[in-house]
Amino acid sequence: MNAPVISARGLRKRYKGQDALAGTDFDIPRGRIVGLIGPNGAGKTTALKAMLGLIPFEGQLSVLGLDPRTQRDALMRDVCFIADVAVLPRWISVGQAIDFVEGVHPKFDRRKCQAYLAKTKLTPKMKVKQMSKGMIVQMHLALVMSIDAKLLVLDEPTLGLDIIYRKQFYQDLLEQYFDEEKTILITTHQVEEVEHILSDLLFIRDGRISLAASMEDVGERFSEVMVAPGLIEQARALKPLDERQVFGKFVCLFDGVPRAQLQELGEVRTPGVADLFVATMKGTYQ
């Protein structure tokens, strides 16, 4: 029951002499919404493509108990993915896409899809090439949410969308799709928009996982302190991960320092994922 949905050991992939994945280990448990977050070129998309059996790789990787390299056909019955928004064929119409997915996917529910589409401006005759980017995402999401998959992988699903579509996207995903039997893996740059729906974080940097924690753990481990004036040297002695200045005040980020101790330094709060991300990724592009 609690076997991880995805389990990677020593996952390695080289592109033209450079490690895109440098012996990565991670586990993704069932029923979680996991954010795979990293700077450009950190290996996010490579990791996703490995899980989806789209590229060969070295090391061990098990997705739903299957090896994506050799058992891809079986795997795709239980895995869905949206790789960016612009991958729906431009010639296809909404009606054709529904007919097609229904024809090839045993776990597709046509009524669900139509119910979802009824809430949008999409009509069956409409072709992808006539749609805006936001509408294409709505259509893709409608198709994917109507498939009763065990794992849904989203690679930058809202890239290039305006904020209304982005908010709607994650809201629909959370309210109409997700349940404890399903696992969702998301990569995105727009960390602020997903942080409230994530249950787990995976930070990836230079092809390695630099942080793997549930959001509860993050709340316990990391603290951000608005350091009271004059106490900054004391704060620095506790080796903050990062310090920055906000309106002349120092804000320090600590990993694993007890809150009671930090409260003496100033106001303590749980850092946002974005702050945590920026702090742990410092120096990436240097």
């Binding site: 795709m76 960016d84 991958v87």
Partner: protein, 322 residues
């Protein structure tokens, strides 16, 4: 099985323009031109009074002997085949470019990531594309060709009616349109078999090329030909380089054009004696299709084609949008 059916349906949706409208367009254009030609002829004829060898048309039926009627029939059959040829020529181009883009376009527009997000094996995908090229498109074109052939026979029929003659005795009697239709239909499975090496080659390039599939598809065999000619490599097998150009280069690139098997298996048209419509008619008959089936050359080519399709399937496994 339902997956394959759905995939064939999908190929048709995407390629309706090529599979359906191209042969209809080619056939209609030919019919329109012929019809205009008939009208122009009629107008000219009216000016001078219509007589053929000094006999008024309505009298021809009674005056013609058995041999003339037979020749007339062969001529009409041939005309019908020629008319039917237009959708088939269109088919050649459609299949060529369809195969060339079949596994390339999905990577270029990145829709491969959508297709691969569904439980469809590479084998099913590639098979559906090969079947679309060798059977679906030819069946549609064949159907259109038959209709165009029949429609073409209506032109002289109307003309005869206009001149008070009976088209049954002068067109549909002597001609054998159902046989022509049968020849076209029988030609389709033969076409499928014959076209396989080109279909396989183009699909292989389509899945392999990172850009410019057309150039790769054409240049590789052509440069191979030049290389072989230059160094006289075929001498080693007691063959000359013409053999290579014909059996490798031309066969790889042109087999999707209908009736190229006739040119190949007769060693060009020079060896065929054509003294009248009957000879041409017999060349374009179902016996010729059977000849193609009986030739070892056809089966070796088909095997090579299937091997390339199998290789294309393997290559698609690790192809994504990059």
């Amino acid at each position: 099985m339902s997956t394959i059916k759905m995939l064939l349906q999908r190929e048709f949706w995407e390629n309706k323009g090529g599979f359906l409208w191209a042969p209809i367009g080619a056939g209609s254009a030919f019919l329109a031109l012929s019809f205009m030609g008939a009208i122009a002829g009629e107008v000219l004829g009216r000016k001078s009074g219509v007589f053929v060898n000094g006999v008024n048309i309505s009298g021809i039926a009674e005056k013609a002997g058995d041999q003339e009627i037979q020749q007339l029939g062969a001529g009409l059959d041939l005309a019908m085949l020629m008319a039917a040829g237009w959708p088939m020529i269109a088919l050649g181009f459609v299949v060529f470019f369809y195969c060339l883009s079949s596994l390339y376009d999905e990577r270029k527009d990145r829709s491969v990531l959508f297709w691969k997000s569904l439980p469809i094996s590479d084998t099913a995908t590639v098979i559906s594309k090969a079947l679309s090229a060798t059977l679906v498109a030819p069946l549609i074109s064949g159907g259109v060709a038959i209709l165009v052939g029949f429609a073409f026979l209506l032109i002289p029929s109307f003309w005869l009616v206009l001149h008070g003659a009976n088209p049954w005795t002068l067109v549909f009697g002597p001609a054998s349109p159902t046989q022509v239709a049968g020849t076209i239909l029988l030609g389709i499975p033969v076409y499928a078999l014959w076209a396989l090496p080109t279909v396989g080659w183009l699909m292989l390039i389509s899945v392999w090329a990172k850009s410019k599939p057309f150039l790769w598809a054409v240049l590789i065999p052509v440069f191979a030909g030049i290389f072989v000619s230059w160094f006289d490599i075929m001498m080693a097998f007691d063959l000359d380089s013409t053999w290579f150009w014909k059996n490798i280069v031309a066969r790889t690139l042109t087999s999707v054009f209908p009736s190229t098997d006739l040119i190949f298996l007769h060693d060009g048209f020079d060896r065929i004696e054509i003294n009248g419509p009957e000879d041409l008619r017999s060349l374009l008959s179902w016996q010729s299709s059977l000849n193609t089936l009986a030739s070892l050359h056809t089966w070796i080519g088909a095997t090579a084609g299937l091997a390339m399709i199998a290789l294309a399937t393997r290559l698609r496994r690790w192809r994504d949008d990059n």
